[in-house]
């Protein structure tokens, strides 16, 4: 019985989860992202290694020329990779981590910081990953819980990331996702250090 329900879930859940989370709610402020001219999911920015990036250009919403694309409302990020740089897609990531291809049907959660810093991609089929920026993958399947969860955890390079212009731009963009995550997952609020007016959060 459980296997039948799991099969039904695997077939229908990806579409259902998108409908549930991305009816373009007020928290969704992710930019339209392209890498070497190909559209990727915006959360790919969290999992990009700046060492692979040749150029990164942020086009603000007021300078957008596109019409009729909802996500253009929040700007566009155009990334070009250095020669020879290669990104992984979801099936390649699963292969690298020795997971079965079935996992691609599970909803992917991208975890990138504190326990509250987790987001669903809008379209996991076009997620792109730098191999070096993925720290781990986790399959969670608690007893009695029919629906397994799959998460990809970002590697934090607190001491290694150089503060190049591209690195700083990526940090700034990642902050957008952090804000969204903390509003979507308010149960795990971050701790604020320092003076209140500095609004300095770690």
């Amino acid at each position: 019985m459980n296997k039948i329900l799991l099969a039904i879930y695997l077939i229908f859940f990806p579409g259902a989860s998108l409908l549930a989370q991305f009816s373009m709610d007020s928290l969704y402020k992710r930019p339209h992202v392209t890498i070497d001219g190909q559209q990727v999911d915006a959360l790919s920015l969290l999992l990009l290694d700046q060492a692979q990036i040749a150029t990164l250009e942020v086009v603000s919403p007021e300078n957008e020329v596109g019409v009729g694309r909802e996500d253009l409302e929040f700007g566009t990020v155009e990334v070009t990779l250095k020669d020879g740089a290669k990104l992984l897609n979801l099936p390649e990531l699963l292969k690298l981590y020795q997971l079965k291809a079935t996992v691609a049907q599970l909803p992917v959660v991208v975890a990138f910081g504190f326990s509250s810093d987790k987001l669903f991609p809008k379209d996991q089929q076009i997620l792109a990953f730098s191999e070096r920026k993925v720290r781990s993958v986790v399959i969670e399947r608690k007893f009695g819980q029919l629906l397994p969860q799959f998460s990809v955890t970002k590697r934090q390079d607190y001491h290694n990331d150089s503060k190049t212009p591209i690195g700083l731009q990526l940090d700034s963009l990642n902050h957008l996702f952090q804000e969204e995550a903390r509003k979507r997952n308010p149960a795990d609020t971050g701790v604020t250090f320092g003076r209140k007016e500095t609004n300095l959060e770690y």
């Binding site: 690298l96 981590y97 020795q98 997971l99 079965k100 079935t102 996992v103 191999e131 070096r132 993925v134 720290r135 781990s136 993958v137 986790v138 399959i139 969670e140 399947r141 608690k142 007893f143 009695g144 397994p148 955890t153 590697r155």
Partner: protein, 141 residues
Amino acid sequence: MKKLLTLVVFLGACVHLMAQETTAYFLNGREIAPASIYFLNPTDIDSVKVYVSQLSGDSSIIAYTGKEHKILTYDEVLEHFFIKQSAISLPVNTTYYSGVEDPENLVFSIDMISSVQITTDNLEEKRGFLDTDLVLLGTVF
């Protein structure tokens, strides 16, 4: 009451005998990895026998489960968590026990394992980048 007594004897014997020279663990007649004791739900254990050699100090703990309790082997856990069998060669750590030497002999109560992580964390210095570890995460009571 009988269950509770069995539980106390099992846990007490495990703790006491881990301090001995060598302790072998058996479940339903099969030798299991010592790390398995952290993944076995004591309520699944029906009976326990403890043998201690007077000469060497070596000991054995032999436990039996009832037929109604589902105990998973390591292969079955990989299957349950959608992991390819090729991952069986990865080094294994658990939340309670690092560096499991004989993961193929691990056994699990199904309700005692909540997630499996495949990680490349902090391994660059040790074994070259993108070697992976498999971490079995248990349920914390």
